[in-house]
Symmetry: C2
Subunit: 350 residues, 2 copies
Amino acid sequence: MKFEAVTIKDIAKSLGLSTSTVSRALRDSYEISPETKKKVLEYAEKINYQPNPIALSLKQRRSFSIGVVVCEIANSFFSQIINGIESIANQRGYNVIIAQSGESFERELGNLQFLASRSVDGLIISVSTETRDFEFFRSLKEKGLPIVFFDRIVDEIETHKVIVDNKKGVYDATNHLIRNGYTRIAAIANAKELSITKDRLAGYQSALEENHFAVNECLIQYCQHGGMILSEVQEAVSNLLKLSPRPDAIVSTSDKLTTGSLRILKANNIEVPDQMGLVGFSNTDLTELLNPSLTVIKQPAFEMGRLASELLFQLIEGKQPVVEFETRVLTTELIIRDSTKGKKEMTVDG
Amino acid sequence: MKFEAVTIKDIAKSLGLSTSTVSRALRDSYEISPETKKKVLEYAEKINYQPNPIALSLKQRRSFSIGVVVCEIANSFFSQIINGIESIANQRGYNVIIAQSGESFERELGNLQFLASRSVDGLIISVSTETRDFEFFRSLKEKGLPIVFFDRIVDEIETHKVIVDNKKGVYDATNHLIRNGYTRIAAIANAKELSITKDRLAGYQSALEENHFAVNECLIQYCQHGGMILSEVQEAVSNLLKLSPRPDAIVSTSDKLTTGSLRILKANNIEVPDQMGLVGFSNTDLTELLNPSLTVIKQPAFEMGRLASELLFQLIEGKQPVVEFETRVLTTELIIRDSTKGKKEMTVDG
DNA sequence: TTGTATGCGTTATCAG
DNA sequence: CTGATAACGCATACAA
């Protein structure tokens, strides 16, 4: 690696063979005699020969690495996604380069350029809350770079996508609140333009409508930075608290917004779920500590990561060009810890 | 990148120049005439030329990427460390390849081999709880690969290291418990062999001794897997609870162990801090939610990451060989949220 | 079955 | 100031 890495040339010289013979022996080519093969393999083993992946990359025009762009790895959802991606990538001998956008379009673009210039063989991405311009994705795709979107997808780009049934997830969660007697249910959502925001709010609205609740725009608060800044959630929550009549429950449409809302409510001495119902997305396994009676919508993050990765490799290693791109939809899990307003249960619902 | 990346050759052909001239013009060499330079630069800009980093790597024998190995990125401490590392690395045009050991020596070794074979230019690592054998580090170092250890360091290997004053951090924390009236203070620690375990327990013991408390080995529980498995923490805590007299406080020596202990105590309906004192390491910003009155030891993770990264680049880009390796020691912060047993305060202590 | 020559994209050396 | 050539480590078409 560093000082004097042993190369095919060294083996060739020591064994009195040509580099091509050694190369072929190493690759177990059919055109090399068993004895030569054995000799080469043994010697390579002995001097601990390691092929230089950079030279390989230059030759084969692939880097054996894929890029992953998320807003932040500290978020449980994304770190689980990454674990899923890695589990597939590593087993194929690929490495995963992780980049964080911090919900900034500028950083996202910078990362994409960086990854592209690093010649990654593929890209898995969940876009930032700020992303409105998809030209760069389009140009990357047109240049032949395989891309898979997950979670926050871009409808405008035709490629594989992995999401959960966001509408149903929130629909169920909202219904859960309604069944538990809440009547004035608000929502705190991500940036308006995100795919997940639209889908998740659709679930919220559809549950309200089915139960003949009015869908009031004032009850929906958007956090354009995805709760990256706590003050933003602060404002959203306090806007809701100012309403009269005050909402008695909140549906929160992302991990960050759920913990953010909890923090703000706590700071205002509002107990969840007694004084304010709350159901939202969350993938941390510490939920019982955050609030022991919090019902959450959980995404199968690890599985999503694996799937995204598998689809990406399908694109990378696919012999013939893809005719039809897939959008894989998994299901969320509603983990019911409360059954608010009085009675308490502990159920898990699939 | 993918289909037909534009190369120096293309520019040369289009402009009727040689590749070497173009190369030099691009690198702003003094031996190229201003006109030629301008022509080349403009054309390169126009057709969006991007140098191929792989070819560069092959030529310059460096990959412009560094490897980072931690037990898991989902841990706030490590994700903040990574952010710190990235902030330095990216600004130098390097990318960061993250690998997770999951507290398994086998995975750690696998990752190291992978990274080494990927020709990373340097390595930043916090070893797993299982790591006892340092031969591989030694061999990597001898091959000339720059390594920086942080947090869980390896004393046996001479290189730069970044840690906090673990002894003092825990010493202060233990004293905090003592000042608040706790008299039978237990400790839950990581694997016995880790550097941080030794240092942190030293702080615990020294505080006890100074206050004339007996240091009882039964009061110290080790989690050999660093709390990676909850059942392990479960056992540690229940061992403590079985003691008679029962300890009235716990010092926990890592993030994972702190949240783990909290979970277990909660599950046993033991209130913190009223029925059991608890002070431990934690770097999550959700501590107020996990337990609003929890006093924690916080490490300057981001700063540690930056420092580790800076030291690494010092090794990577250092002209002359390093004569003396440094161990940088930062200070922890004791964030006091309780002042248990009755009176409540809110103080932050530097 | 093995060896020779060439090229991947770039830079460095040496001539001109 | 500019150009031809070799080299980085490897794989492969072509020759033998």
